[in-house]
Amino acid sequence: MGCICGQDKQSMQAYLQPLQQVLNRYAREERFLVPILQDAQEAYGYLPAEVMREIARSLNISFTKVYGVATFYSQFHLRPRGRNVIKVCTGTACHVRGGGEVLKAIQNVLGIEAGGTTPDLEFTLETVACIGACGLAPVIMINDDTHGRVNPENIKSILDGYRQPVHTEVAAG
């Protein structure tokens, strides 16, 4: 989502519409801050400053508090992210079974470092401490799918399965 500064009140209201729907699901209490941020991130893909400001206003807490919580937890992101989020497990079992090589291979295929997003916003690459599927190490997670026993050779075909198809097949309809 692009820059929205300097826009008029009306378009701002429209921009915050999805957030209002999130806020309406909760009582305006501080204890719902984390779930509200989780839902807001779901709606916007990340947490834009304006969205956090509005959350602070509506819960009647300071913006610093919202910002503090949003930056404390690794789940929250203050910048736009890819349509697909890849999490490479760097847990102990994956570490001893070649998880590092897998990470390198993904970095090579996508041309980004861990923590980065591809320019076409297709993929964001992250590392995670442990996915908890150690029996199938090395493991990666793409969105909510867990892929076990991956290796540098089969990485590309796994990733390709998540790319937006360039041509929509006419015959399929």
Binding site: Y73, S74, G91, T92, I131, A133, C134, G135, L136, G148
Partner: protein, 624 residues
């Protein structure tokens, strides 16, 4: 649920229904835990459904949780009316038509794919071992995991049919809260979340604090790398944890509870949501349970990605919507917890043991395990081991038994070097101590810790300095930054380890590491910092020579640390001249005639280790 009698009647009816279902149709059951799905269980399920549709079969297709045999995933069970439940392992999509044609339609077990069979009260088939005959299962004792991989975790009827919620009914209708606490105390149950605090005592402390409102919390933040016991339990048998929480809530007088689950466990969250809904529908959560006048309800809280939130005071701060930072204790949560109210926090596995204790009595439970550690412990067995998986064993079993008898030892060619227990708060136990009994005290004595139950087996190719660095990097990254020893101290330790691993270690580094480690251990605010130095201290204790090789000889004995600057050398007596090293060397430093011993030019070697990793005969190592 208005009374215990009503539950009994329901159970009888459900058990009969289930038996009739089993008698009426063949059942195909697919293991749908996260591990199974990661190994391709969804594709297997699709293939089964396709096959069933194409052949117009009248069968029941259902799912179950993780039975713990990760290395055989995906798993598929077939049970014919009047027959045993046969488990097929490492099933590929192409195997599905064969299994269905031969077993489901023809009644002939596909022996080469069958792993084991469960009698289930029916006569067995020939040629397939029973679960108890497998070393992996025969030596386990499954209490917390009893239902995992057997029942459908999304069906409360299966849980009730096999005795579920009976303990809850008994506690609420036949026992006073004091009696429940006394039973758990007598059983000797200790917390499975790491520290091993006696559960009954914790309940007693919370119950004695007078208050108009109390909370009970289940800690499912399982963030230790190498651990997945709690995930499997929640995915495989969520009602068991809920039942334990209801009994605990009754004992301490709480009317509201939270289950705090990592957001990285979407399937566990989904199954818990289903389970809570079903429990409410059956009146097992809500007002006036079993007509006892006791009311209780539960909420799920999703974590947001911070390891430190597993620490109980940080966890409560997180539930309250704040940054998850620990605070000093006392006051303990039993006195002042969530929103200042008395709160009791226990681990998933701790709660999973409660119902059985109430059901079968404290004496039975106390008869299992050792003097100070009662019952069983679930371990996630991973790393360089033949059978990776989830195992539950009586406390006091030796490490050797778990690794060799149950886990099948290491894969061919690998020699055991150390076992890492307890994740980032634990330590590395060397091969010499394999006969150590697994209990809280013994592990602590050798510098490790029960932790939550991760058990990672390491072989000769694992560098112990690198392992210590790995864990410290983790804790350093997860340090919340509130107290200085943990925030700054772990950073300084990590810098030293980085230096040692890249071949720039100096004399005095090890002493400095030890000094820092002791200060951090003794002065950190919470146990994240307090236990962060453990992996370093334990590897220094047992593998000091490896650290010294890095520092003095600039050599990594396991050939892992690429930065140690001594170039690689080829042992001419072993080299077979296959040329693989020539091909992988990025610097063109290797040369030699085919079938003749090769040579590495020390000046051009980048010390990346690619040649050593590729060498089929292990002829390449770093020079001294």
């Amino acid at each position: 649920m208005r009374s215990a009698k009503e539950l009994n009647e329901l159970r009888a009816a459900l058990a009969q229904q289930l038996a009739e279902r089993k008698r009426a149709k063949p059942r195909i059951i697919i293991g749908m835990g996260t591990c199974g799905i990661a190994a391709g269980a969804r594709e297997i399920l699709k293939a089964v459904l396709r096959e069933v549709e194409n052949r117009r079969l009248d069968v029941e297709v259902c799912q179950t949780g993780c039975i713990g045999m990760c290395q055989y995933e995906p798993l598929l069970d077939v049970q014919l009316p009047g027959g045993p439940r046969v488990t097929y392992g490492s099933v590929a999509v192409k195997d599905v038509p064969r299994i269905i044609a031969s077993h489901v339609m023809g009644g002939r077990v596909v022996e080469e794919l069958a792993v084991a069979q469960m009698a289930d009260g029916e006569p067995l088939v020939e040629g397939v071992p029973t679960y108890d005959e497998l070393d992996f299962f025969g030596r386990q004792l499954r209490i917390a995991l009893a239902n995992c991989g057997r029942i459908d975790p999304e069906s409360i009827t299966e849980y009730i049919a096999c005795g579920g919620y009976a303990a809850c009914a008994k506690a609420l209708t036949e026992m006073t809260p004091e009696e429940v606490i006394s039973e758990v105390k007598k059983a000797g149950l200790r917390g499975r979340g790491g520290a091993g605090f006696p559960t009954g005592l914790k309940w007693e402390l919370t119950s004695r604090t007078p208050s108009d409102k109390k909370y009970i919390v289940c800690n499912a933040d399982e963030g230790d790398p190498g651990a997945f016991m709690d995930r499997s339990l929640l995915e495989g048998d969520p009602h068991r944890v809920i039942e334990g929480m209801i009994i605990g809530a009754y004992a301490i007088g709480a009317d509201e509870g939270y289950i705090y689950v990592r957001a990285e466990y979407p399937l566990a969250i989904k199954r818990l949501e289903i389970a809570l809904k079903q429990a409410r529908e059956q009146g097992l959560l809500g007002e006036n349970l079993f007509g006892s006048g006791f009311s209780f309800d539960l909420h799920i809280k999703k974590g947001a990605g911070a390891f430190v939130c597993g620490e109980e005071t940080a966890l409560m701060a997180s539930i309250e919507g704040r940054r998850g930072m620990p605070r000093p204790k006392p006051p303990f949560p039993s006195v002042s917890g969530l929103w200042g109210k008395p709160t009791n926090i226990n681990n998933v596995e701790t709660f999973a043991n409660v119902a059985e204790i109430i059901d079968r009595g404290a004496e039975w439970f106390a008869g299992i395990g050792t003097e100070g550690s009662k019952g069983t412990k679930v371990f996630a067995l991973t790393g360089k081991i033949a059978h990776t998986g989830l195992v539950e064993v009586p406390m006091g079993m030796s490490l050797r038994e778990v690794i060799y008898d149950i886990g099948g030892g290491l894969p061919a060619g690998a020699q055991l070097k150390a076992v890492q227990i307890g994740g980032p708060s634990g330590g590395c136990i060397p091969a010499e101590l394999l006969d150590l009994p697994i209990d809280y005290e013994s592990l602590r004595e050798v510098g490790a810790m029960m932790g939550s139950g991760g058990m990672v087996v390491m072989d000769q190719n694992t560098c112990m300095v690198d392992v210590a660095r790995f864990f410290l990097k983790f804790t350093q990254n997860e340090s919340c930054g509130k107290c200085t020893p943990c925030r700054e101290g772990t950073k300084r330790m990590l810098e030293i380890l980085d230096r040692i691993c890249s071949g720039d270690g100096k004399d005095g580094d090890l002493e400095l590491l030890e000094e820092l480690a002791c200060h951090i251990r003794d002065t950190s605010l919470c146990q994240l910092g307090g236990s962060a130095p453990n992996p370093v201290l334990s590897t220094l204790q047992y593998f000091r020579d490896e650290y010294e090789a890095h520092i003095r000889d600039k050599r990594c004995p396991a050939n892992v640390c690429a930065g140690t600057s001594a170039p690689y050398q080829i042992n001419a007596a072993v080299c077979i001249g296959c040329g693989l090293c020539v091909r992988v060397c990025p610097a063109g430093a290797v040369s030699g005639e085919r079938r003749q011993p090769h040579h590495i030019d020390a000046g051009s070697c980048l010390v990346c280790g690619a040649c050593a990793a590729k060498c089929p005969v292990h002829a390449i190592a770093q020079g001294a």
